[in-house]
C-alpha cells in the first residue's frame, strides 16, 4: 500500500522563497499533514507548519494544496493519484512568517472590532430561556473553527490588499450575523455590518462557503439574510440578485 509521492512545498520567509521538491513515503489512510510530519522527521527538521489537533477541530493547519485552500489534517492522500505531484503553499492572503506558517493577526484585529454579546441588562445568569429552534441558526455559525480559510479565499481581500481596512471578511460578517440572530442579543448590529465591516463589498460569490471545512452555509445563511435585514432599511441590488440565485438553486 505504500508508495513514494512527489511533493512540492513552498519554503521561505518574508524575504521570499521557492517551491522545493521532495520524494516521500505515503502509507494507507494518511493525510497531507502526516506527510509533512514525515518530512520533518526525516528530511527537513525545520520545516515550519502550524497544527494542534490533527482531527479537524482546531483550525490551525490551514494552507493551500494544489492551489485549493484546505486543512492539511483533513486532506487524505487518497484524493490524489500516486503519480500526481502534490503542491503545498501557505495561505496567500496573509503575510508569510515562514514556510507554511502565515501571520493571521488581521483576523484577531477584526474580531476585536465586533461589539460583544449584549444580553438584556436585567437578565441574570441561570434565567436564560431559549428554544432549540431559535438557537440553531446561530449555533451553525458557532461551529466555526477559525481556520480563516474563508478569509483567505474571499476575493475582496485576496487580491486587494487595500480593502483589508474596510472589510472584516466572511468569518466576522458571519459573527455579526450570529449575534444578530441570537435570541437574547439586544444590540443593533445591522447598521455597523454595512457601514463599519464592509458587508456591502460582499457580492455573494459563495467562494467562502465552498472552502469552509465545517460546511457552514456562510453566504446563504449568514451573509444574504444579513444583507436582507440591512436592505429593509436601504435598497441593496445584490440582495435582490441573491434571492434570485437562491431561488433558482433550490428549484433545481
Amino acid at each position: 500500500m505504500s508508495y513514494k509521492a512527489d511533493f512540492r512545498i513552498w519554503r521561505g520567509d518574508v524575504d521570499g522563497g521557492e517551491l522545493r521538491d521532495f520524494k516521500v513515503e505515503v502509507n494507507e489512510g494518511e493525510v497531507v499533514l502526516d506527510i509533512i510530519h514525515r518530512l520533518q522527521a526525516t528530511q527537513a527538521p525545520d520545516l515550519a507548519v502550524r497544527w494542534n489537533c490533527k482531527a479537524g477541530k482546531c483550525g490551525s493547519c490551514s494552507a493551500e494544496i494544489n492551489g485549493r485552500p484546505r486543512l492539511l489534517c483533513m486532506t487524505r492522500m487518497s484524493t490524489f493519484a500516486p503519480e500526481e505531484v502534490v503542491t503545498v503553499t501557505p495561505m496567500r492572503t496573509f503575510p508569510v512568517i515562514r514556510d507554511l506558517v502565515t501571520d493571521v493577526s488581521f483576523n484577531y484585529a477584526k474580531a476585536r472590532q465586533v461589539p460583544s454579546f449584549t444580553p438584556p441588562a436585567d437578565l441574570k445568569p441561570g434565567e436564560y430561556r431559549m428554544q432549540q429552534v431559535d438557537v440553531e441558526r446561530s449555533q451553525e455559525f458557532r461551529k466555526c473553527i477559525e481556520c480563516f480559510l474563508c478569509q483567505n479565499t474571499c476575493h475582496v481581500i485576496r487580491d486587494f490588499e487595500d480593502n483589508k481596512a474596510a472589510f472584516s471578511g466572511p468569518r466576522f460578517l458571519m459573527r455579526i450575523a450570529e449575534l444578530d440572530m441570537h435570541p437574547l442579543d439586544v444590540a443593533d448590529r445591522q447598521k455597523a455590518a454595512q457601514e463599519e465591516h464592509g458587508l456591502g463589498l460582499c457580492n455573494i460569490t459563495k467562494c467562502c462557503t465552498d472552502v469552509c471545512p465545517e460546511n457552514i452555509h456562510i453566504t446563504d445563511n449568514a451573509l444574504i439574510p444579513m444583507k436582507e435585514r440591512v436592505a429593509d432599511r436601504k435598497y441593496d441590488p445584490l440582495v435582490w440578485l441573491g434571492n434570485k440565485i437562491r431561488r433558482r438553486g433550490s428549484g433545481d
Binding site: D13, L47, N52, G56, R112, K143, E146
Partner: protein, 642 residues
C-alpha cells in the same frame, strides 16, 4: 546579562485553554493587569477538542440531581482517592460556572422548556452534561475568548487601549519559571516571573510578575497512541517541578476506552463517550455485548443485569439501571483490552462500537446528535456510522495526576505566588476522571486560581522581587543548547522512542519488570535528548521546539513510571497485573514527585509518600457505610450508628 524583551504584569497566566482563560478573566475583572501566554494561537488550545459536554448538577433534565449526587459520583469515579475538598467545591460551583457562560454568549443545546439540555455520561447518575452537539469544548473556548475580547473592548472605551489590563501573548512558549528563595522559609521559593521564546522570531522574552498561574494542560504526547494534541508535552508539570513545586498522583493516567484504531495515521483520535451516552453499544467479534461480563463488584448494584433493562434505561431511568457500557472509563478500557487479548477483537485490534439501529430517529438522529463523529469517520476512515460499526480501542487521554495545589486557593505548596488549575493540577479526579468533569474543573478552579493569584499580587503591593539576572542567563543558555551540540541526535527520533517506551511499558496494564525497564530506557533517552541538535535558525523552527519539549516530556514520563512502579495496587487509571486488587491501605498514600536539584546537569525525580487528608464527617455521611467499606480502612470508617 543578555538583553531580553521584558513585560511587567500583576498576574501572568500560562495557558489559554478553559482553565487559563477563566483565570485571566477573573484576575482582570478584579482590576489587575493580566497577561495570558500560550504556545499556540489564541483559541486553539486543547480545550477546543472536548466533545461530550460539561458536567454540572443543574437538574434541568432530572430534577433529583444536586451537588451531593455529583460529588458522590465524582468520588466513586475516582475510587475515593480524590481530594474530597476539590470534589466538593467542584460539584457545588459547576452550575454557576455554566450559567455564567450563557451570559457571555454561549449557546448550549436546549430542553423543551428552554433551559440548558443535559446528557447522560459514564459514571454520572443523572443526565448532567451540558453540551452543544459533540463540540462542547469549541463552544467553551470561543465563549471565553469572546469574553476576553469583551473585556478588552471595555478597556478600549475606558483607557483608549484594549490591552491596558489584559493582553494575550500568543505563540510564545515558556521554558522556565523564575524564582528567588523565599525569605520567610528556608526551603520554599517565591515567583518573580517566567522566561520564554517567541515561536515566530525565536527571540527570548521575560515576564516579570509576582503571581503566575499554570494552566498548560496534560502530558499525552509522551505516549504513542493518544487523543491529545501537539501541545500536550507536560510543560506546566515540568515547569512546576523545576521551580520546586511537587506533582502528585502521577501514576494515574486515563486511557479513554474509545479511540479510533484504523487507519494507522488516525489511531488514537477520540470517539466521544456521548456515542455510548446516546445509546451506542460495544460488541466483540462474536457480536456479543461483552460489557455485561465486566461489571466489578463495587458497581454491581448500580448497573443493569440484562440488555433489555439497559435499553429501557435510556427512556425510563427511575425504574431501570444503566447499561454497563456507561461504567467509568477505566473499567471499559480494561474490558476492551481483555476482549482483544482473548482474541475476540475487531480486524484492526479494537472492538466494535455501533449506533446503527440504536436511536429512535434513525440515521437522521445519529447525524444530528453526533455530527462531528459522523464527519470524522466519513472523512478519515471512510466509515458511515449511520450504517456501519466503528472500530475502537483505548487511547491515552488524560492525566489525573498533576501539580499539588491547595483545594480552595489553587496555590502550590512549594512556591509562593505559583498557582495551578485545569488538567495540569492534581487531586480533583483521584484515580480516574469522569467524562465532563474536566470542563467544569477548568472553570471552577480556573476562576479560583485567578482570584487567589489576584489577591496575592494585590496584597504584595510594591513589595515585589526582581528576577535574578543569572537565572535569565541560564534559561537562555539552556534554550540555545540544541544549536550548539555536536554529534547531534534527531529530536524526532528520540520523541518516537519515548512514545513507544511509554506505550509498551507503562501503558494500560502495568508490570513491575516492564516499568523498571522503562526507567532504564528513560535514562538513556535523557542522555540522548541532552544531545538533541537542530538545523537551521531560530525562526519558527519546529525541530528546535521539539528539542526543548523533550526535557519536559522525559521528566513527566519519569514521574509516571516511578509512581506507577511504587504503587502496589490497582485503582482507576493505574492497573497492575501483579497487584490486581484495590487496597484501602494504599488509598491513604499520596505519592509526590519532586526534583532534588533543579540546576543539576542531569535532572532526576525523587518520590516521597504522604498521607491523604481524611474526609470531613458530613461528607462521609453522604455514603452508605457498606459502600465506604469497599474503599476505606476499618480505622477510617465512621462509627456504626454515625
Amino acid at each position: 546579562m543578555s538583553e531580553v524583551e521584558r513585560h511587567s504584569y500583576d498576574v501572568v497566566v500560562i495557558g489559554a485553554g478553559g482553565a487559563g482563560l477563566r483565570a485571566a478573566i477573573e484576575a482582570r475583572t478584579r482590576g489587575l493587569r493580566t497577561a495570558v501566554v500560550c504556545k499556540s494561537l489564541f483559541g486553539k488550545a486543547h480545550t477546543v477538542m472536548a466533545e461530550g459536554g460539561i458536567a454540572a448538577s443543574m437538574g434541568n433534565v432530572n430534577s433529583q440531581d444536586s451537588w451531593k449526587v455529583h460529588f458522590r459520583d465524582t468520588m466513586r469515579g475516582g475510587k475515593f482517592l480524590n481530594h474530597w475538598r476539590m470534589a466538593e467545591l467542584h460539584a457545588k460551583e459547576a452550575p454557576d460556572r455554566v450559567w455564567e457562560l450563557e451570559s457571555w454568549g454561549a449557546l448550549f443545546d436546549r430542553t423543551a422548556d428552554g433551559r440548558i439540555s443535559q446528557r447522560n455520561f459514564g459514571g454520572h447518575e443523572y443526565p448532567r452534561l451540558a453540551h452543544v452537539g459533540d463540540r462542547t469544548g469549541l463552544e467553551l473556548i470561543r465563549t471565553l475568548q469572546q469574553q476576553i475580547v469583551a473585556l478588552q473592548q471595555q478597556d478600549e472605551r475606558e483607557f483608549g487601549d484594549p490591552e491596558a489590563r489584559l493582553k494575550v501573548f500568543q505563540e510564545c512558549t515558556i521554558t522556565r519559571l523564575l524564582t528567588v528563595p523565599d525569605a520567610g522559609s528556608d526551603t520554599g521559593n517565591r515567583i518573580t516571573g517566567a522566561f520564554g521564546y517567541w515561536r515566530e522570531s525565536g527571540r527570548f522574552t521575560v515576564f516579570d510578575a509576582p503571581a503566575v498561574v499554570l494552566a498548560t494542560g496534560g502530558i499525552g504526547k509522551g505516549f504513542k497512541v493518544t487523543s491529545n494534541s501537539w501541545e500536550y508535552t507536560g510543560d506546566g508539570q515540568a515547569l512546576a517541578l523545576l521551580a520546586g513545586a511537587p506533582l502528585i498522583n502521577m501514576e494515574f493516567v486515563q486511557f479513554h476506552p474509545t479511540g479510533m484504531v484504523w487507519p494507522p495515521s488516525v489511531k488514537g483520535i477520540l470517539v466521544t463517550e456521548s456515542v455510548r451516552g446516546d445509546g451506542g453499544v460495544l460488541l466483540n467479534s462474536e457480536g456479543k455485548r461483552f460489557m455485561f461480563d465486566y461489571i466489578p463488584d463495587v458497581f454491581k448494584e448500580k448497573y443493569a443485569k440484562s440488555e433489555a433493562e439497559g435499553d429501557r434505561w435510556y427512556t425510563d431511568q427511575e425504574n431501570n439501571k444503566r447499561p454497563p457500557e456507561l461504567l467509568p472509563r477505566d473499567e471499559v478500557a480494561r474490558a476492551i483490552n481483555s476482549e482483544v487479548k482473548a482474541g475476540r477483537g475487531s480486524p484492526h485490534g479494537g472492538v466494535f462500537l455501533t449506533v446503527v439501529g440504536r436511536m429512535a430517529g434513525g440515521t437522521e438522529e445519529i447525524r444530528r446528535k453526533l455530527p462531528s463523529m459522523y464527519h470524522q469517520f466519513k472523512e478519515l476512515a471512510d466509515v458511515d456510522i449511520t450504517a456501519e460499526a466503528m472500530e475502537v480501542g483505548p487511547t491515552c487521554h488524560y492525566v489525573m495526576g498533576g501539580i499539588a495545589v491547595d483545594p480552595d486557593t489553587a496555590a502550590t505548596p512549594g512556591v509562593l505566588g505559583l498557582y495551578a488549575a485545569g488538567e495540569v493540577a492534581g487531586g480533583m479526579h483521584g484515580s480516574n476522571r469522569l467524562g465532563g468533569n474536566s470542563l467544569s474543573d477548568l472553570l471552577v478552579f480556573g476562576r479560583r486560581a485567578g482570584e487567589h493569584a489576584a489577591r496575592y499580587a494585590e496584597a504584595l503591593g510594591e513589595e515585589r522581587r526582581e528576577a535574578a539576572p543569572e537565572q535569565i542567563d541560564a534559561a537562555a543558555a539552556e534554550a540555545l543548547a540544541p544549536f550548539a551540540t555536536e554529534s547531534a541526535e534527531n529530536p524526532y527520533t528520540v520523541h518516537q522512542e519515548l512514545q513507544q517506551t511509554m506505550n509498551d511499558l507503562v501503558g494500560i496494564i502495568r508490570r513491575e519488570g516492564e516499568m523498571a525497564e522503562a526507567l532504564t530506557r528513560l535514562e538513556e533517552l535523557k542522555a540522548r535528548a541532552a544531545k538533541a541538535g537542530v538545523e537551521g535558525h531560530r525562526q519558527y523552527n519546529p525541530g528546535w521546539h521539539l528539542a526543548l519539549d523533550l526535557r519536559n516530556m522525559l521528566l513527566v514520563c519519569e514521574c509516571v513510571a516511578r509512581s506507577a512502579l511504587e504503587r502496589q495496587e490497582s485503582r482507576g487509571g493505574h492497573t497492575r497485573d501483579d497487584f490486581p486488587a484495590m487496597s484501602p491501605q494504599w488509598r491513604r498514600v499520596v505519592l509526590a514527585c519532586s526534583i532534588a536539584d533543579p540546576d543539576a546537569e542531569h535532572l532526576s525525580v525523587t518520590l516521597t509518600r504522604s498521607e491523604a487528608v481524611p474526609m470531613r464527617a458530613d461528607l462521609l455521611e453522604l455514603f452508605e457505610r457498606d459502600e465506604l467499606k469497599k474503599y476505606l480502612t476499618d480505622a477510617e470508617l465512621p462509627g456504626e450508628d454515625g
